[in-house]
């Protein structure tokens, strides 16, 4: 399944609030 990752935290929080949806943050150090 393709995930459309957001890379800007403030934009993600604003979108989550606007849509009343939870937000998942993936902290990774894996090679790209």
């Amino acid at each position: 399944m393709l995930v459309n990752w957001i890379k800007d935290a403030d934009a993600a929080f604003a979108q989550a609030k606007q849509e009343s949806k939870p937000l998942l943050i993936d902290f990774s150090a894996a090679p790209a």
């Binding site: 459309n4 957001i6 989550a16 939870p22 937000l23 943050i25 150090a29």
Partner: protein, 131 residues
Amino acid sequence: MPLEAHIKEHPAYFKRFEALWTPTILVMDSEGVERYRIEGYLPKDWFGARLKMGLARVAFMHKKFADAQQLYEGVVEKFGNLALAAEAIYYRDVCQYKATNDHTSLGTAAIELAEKFPTDEWRLKSLPWAH
């Protein structure tokens, strides 16, 4: 709503959200409050179960007990063989109690936990409910 925070691209996010290890997953509610944290790698099934636990926690903390109960029940049904199912059983029946004020649901949880997870911490937490 998925946010990617790679240590090379967003080191400030690690400090902001106190992520000290990778991989770390945070489940935040829509107000930006952390509700669930997963640290360390997990196989796909386990990870899916933990994510559901996180979403259930979000619903629980927002007092959406019917939604939370359904999510916890989904974990029990799909991942009943995993140890985290004990926590799901516990909170599933807490949600039932919170939604109905019927304390018998807590006794039901205590019985189920004693049968399925006799040595688990969540079973111990249910001991006061056993009559």
